[in-house]
C-alpha cells in the first residue's frame, strides 16, 4: 500500500479481555515504531523494531504489552488483560532507516476499554 495501514481503526473491549492491534508498514521500510497517545497527552514511545535487530521494548508500560514483527513487515501489538487505563490511540509508524528520513504514521487504532 501507499501508506502505513492500521487495523482496526476503532476497538471497544471489555476490561480483562486481550486485544491485538495490527500495523502494515510501508513496503521496504526497515524501522517500525509503536506509540500511544492517551487523552490530552503526547506521543508515548512503546516499542521499536529495526531490521533484524532485537526490538527496543523499553517503552512498554507493563508485561501485559507485547509486540511482534513477522518477516520484517507486519507488526502486531498485543495487550493482555486490558485495563481502563489502556484506553488510548495506538499509533504505528515506519521509516526507511534509523534516521535521516522521516517516519510515516498510520491513522491509529482508538482503543476503548469499558
Amino acid at each position: 500500500g501507499a501508506g502505513v495501514s492500521q487495523s482496526p481503526s476503532n476497538k471497544v473491549t471489555e476490561k480483562g479481555k486481550d486485544v491485538e492491534l495490527r500495523c502494515d508498514p510501508i513496503s521496504g521500510h526497515t524501522a517500525l515504531y509503536w506509540y500511544r497517545q492517551s487523552l490530552g497527552q503526547g506521543l508515548e514511545f512503546l516499542i521499536y523494531f529495526q531490521g533484524n535487530s532485537a526490538p527496543d521494548k523499553s517503552g512498554l508500560p507493563s508485561d501485559r504489552f507485547s509486540a511482534e514483527r513477522t518477516g520484517g513487515s507486519v507488526s502486531t501489538l498485543t495487550i493482555q488483560r486490558t485495563q481502563q487505563e489502556d484506553s488510548a490511540v495506538y499509533l504505528c509508524a515506519s521509516s526507511q532507516t534509523r534516521g535521516g528520513t522521516e517516519a510515516f504514521f498510520g491513522q491509529g487504532t482508538r482503543l476503548t476499554v469499558v
Binding site: L43, F45, Y48, L91, R98, E102, F105
Partner: protein, 114 residues
C-alpha cells in the same frame, strides 16, 4: 525523564502573524530533529526536519532553527494560516543507546485565529 520537552501546551496566534513553537532536549546524542503536525483523529504527518550539523532549515512558510549549545529548537510559521491550527510535535533521534529511536515531545496546540 522527558528527553524532549515542549513547555507550551498551547499557543494562539492571529492569521498572518508569525507562530513560534519551541522545543528543548536534554540528550546531546540526538543528531536529527523533526517536526510533525497532527490534526484530530489523524496520524501525525511530517513537516520539516533539521540535522544537527545545521542551524536552520527552511521550507516555504516553515523554518526550523537549531541552537545546539542551548539544546533548543524552534519552528517558525509565517504567515500563519487558519489551516495551520493543529498539534505540533517535535521529535529527536540519535545514533545509539537511548537515543536510537524517535522520541517525541508532548506537543503544542496551535490555534490560528482568522
Amino acid at each position: 525523564d522527558q528527553q524532549v520537552k515542549q513547555n507550551s501546551p498551547s499557543l494562539s496566534v492571529q492569521e498572518g502573524r508569525i507562530s513560534i513553537l519551541n522545543c528543548d532536549y536534554t540528550n546531546s546524542m540526538f543528531d536529527y530533529f523533526l517536526w510533525y503536525k497532527k490534526y484530530p483523529a489523524e496520524g501525525p504527518t511530517f513537516l520539516i526536519s533539521i540535522s544537527s550539523i545545521k542551524d536552520k532549515n527552511e521550507d516555504g512558510r516553515f523554518t526550523v532553527f537549531l541552537n545546539k549549545s542551548a539544546k533548543h529548537l524552534s519552528l517558525h510559521i509565517v504567515p500563519s494560516q487558519p489551516g495551520d491550527s493543529a498539534v505540533y510535535f517535535c521529535a529527536a533521534i540519535g545514533l545509539g543507546g537511548a537515543t536510537n529511536k524517535l522520541i517525541f515531545g508532548t506537543g503544542t496546540l496551535l490555534a490560528v485565529q482568522p
